[in-house]
Amino acid sequence: MSLFSQERREVLTTPLAKDNPVAVQVLGICSALAVTAQLEPAIVMGLSVTVITAFANVIISLLRKTVPNRIRIIVQLVVVASLVTLVSQILKAFAYDVSVQLSVYVGLIITNCILMGRLEAFAMMRSPWESFLDGVGNGLGYAWILVAVGFVRELFGNGTLLGFRIIPESIYADNGGFYVNNGMMTMPAMALIIVGCLIWALRAAQKEA
C-alpha cells in the first residue's frame, strides 16, 4: 500500500467534514467554547491539539500490542498527559511568549475528549502511519471549527480580528454612529449557538451530497 493510498487519504480527510470530531461526533465542545472568544487563542489551541493528537496516536499505535486491556485507558491518559507536559515545558524554554499566551489552555488539552476518542477508537487498532494521519485529520477538523467560531465571535463581539480593528471606530454608537458590538458574542453561550449552526450547515450540506 502506498504512503498516500486512497484509503489513507480518506483517513486524513473524512474528519475534516464528513466525520468531523466537533460537528458530527460532538466531542471537544467544552474547549471549543472556552478558547474561541478571540481568534488567536483558537488558532494556537487548534494547532496544539493537532500536534498532540498526531503524536499521541503514533505512540499508542506503537504500543498497541503490548498494552494490557484492563488498564488501556490509563496508559492512554499517561501518554497524553506526558506529551502535554513535555510540550508545555519546551514552550516555556524556547517560546516563552507563546506559553504565556496559552497559559491554562495547554493543560486543558489533556481533558480534550477528541484525544482519548481517537486513541481508543483508532490508534489501538491501526498502524502508526495511519494513526498519525488520523490524528492530523482530526486535529485539523477540530482546529477549523475553532477558527470559524473564533472568527465570528471576535469580529462581532469586539469588531477586531487577531486584535486588528476591522469594523471602523467611526460607525460605533459611542462616536455618533449606529453600530454596537454584540456583547452576547463574548459569552460562551453564543459559542454553543454558533457551533450548533455549524453542525446544522454541515449536516444539511452532507445530506444533499
Partner: protein
C-alpha cells in the same frame, strides 16, 4: 504473550510510570535554567512596560534598557525602612517572587527616565478565575501614576483578559493615588469602577472598568488599593527626606 495476566498488568504499569517519571524529571531539570532565564527576562519586560517602554526587538534590548533605566531594586518595609539598597539592579528586590513579598519585604524599583525619578512597585491580587499581578510606576510626587502594567493567569479571553492590553493600562496614566486634600496619605483612593460609571468630580481617582468583566475589574481595583497601601510608609519616609 498473555497481556491480560495480573502480573503483566502490574509490571507494565510500574515500568511505564518509572519511564515517564524519569523522562519528565529529566526534561524539567534540563530546561530549568532556560526557563528561569526567560522568566527573569519577562519580569524585566513587565517592569519596563509599566514605564511605557514596550516593544523590544531583541532580548538584549530588554537587558540594556533595564540596566539603563533601573537605578536600584531596593527592598523596603511597610514602615519605610530600607532593608536592602539593591545597587545591583536585579539581585535584591528583583529576586523576590510574589509569594515572598510581605510587609517586611517589599520590593521597589527606583528608576530614572529623562532625569526624573519614578518608583515602580509590584502588586498582586485575585481576579475572577485566578491570580492577577502588575507593576505601577509612580511619579516622584508619590501621588501621580506614571504608568501601569497588569497581567493575569486565566481571566476570560476577550473580557477580563483585556486588562493585559495597553488600552486598559493607559487609562491609569496621570490618575491620582490619594485624595488631593488628603495630607496623611494613608488610604489610596484610586480605584476601578464599572464601565461608564466614572464620576466627573472624582475622575482623577477613577478608572473606567471593562464591560462584561466587572469581577476582573474589581480584582484590579482591590489589587491596586491593597498593593499601594503597603507602600504608604515608604512613600512617607521619602517625603520626609525631601
Amino acid at each position: 504473550m498473555n497481556t491480560n495476566k495480573n502480573s503483566y498488568t502490574i509490571i507494565y504499569a510500574s515500568v511505564m510510570v518509572v519511564i515517564v517519571a524519569f523522562l519528565l524529571a529529566f526534561v524539567s531539570s534540563a530546561l530549568k535554567p532556560r526557563q528561569d532565564q526567560n522568566e527573569a527576562l519577562d519580569k524585566k519586560k513587565q517592569i519596563l512596560a509599566s514605564l511605557h517602554l514596550r516593544d523590544f526587538a531583541t532580548n538584549e534590548d530588554v537587558e540594556s534598557t533595564y540596566n539603563a533605566v533601573v537605578v536600584a531594586d531596593a527592598i523596603v518595609d511597610s514602615v519605610g525602612n530600607i532593608v536592602k539598597e539593591g545597587k545591583n539592579k536585579d539581585q535584591d528586590g528583583f529576586t523576590k517572587a510574589s509569594k515572598d513579598i510581605s510587609p517586611k519585604q517589599l520590593p521597589v524599583y527606583i528608576c530614572q527616565i529623562d532625569s526624573t525619578i519614578k518608583y515602580v512597585v509590584p502588586i498582586t491580587g485575585r481576579g475572577l478565575w485566578g491570580g492577577l499581578w502588575g507593576y505601577i510606576a509612580i511619579d516622584d510626587d508619590l501621588q501621580t501614576i506614571y504608568g501601569a502594567y497588569f497581567s493575569h493567569e486565566s481571566e476570560t479571553a476577550g473580557l477580563g483578559a483585556l486588562i493585559a492590553d495597553e488600552p486598559f493600562q493607559k487609562l491609569f496614566n496621570g490618575k491620582h493615588i490619594f485624595a488631593d486634600t488628603d495630607t496623611v496619605r494613608q488610604e489610596p483612593l484610586l480605584t476601578v469602577v464599572k464601565n461608564g460609571k466614572v464620576e466627573p468630580q472624582n475622575q482623577q481617582y477613577q478608572v473606567d472598568g471593562i464591560t462584561g468583566a466587572t469581577l476582573t475589574s474589581n480584582g484590579v481595583a482591590d489589587m491596586v488599593k491593597s498593593g499601594l497601601k503597603q507602600y504608604t510608609g515608604y512613600f512617607k519616609s521619602l517625603h520626609t527626606i525631601k
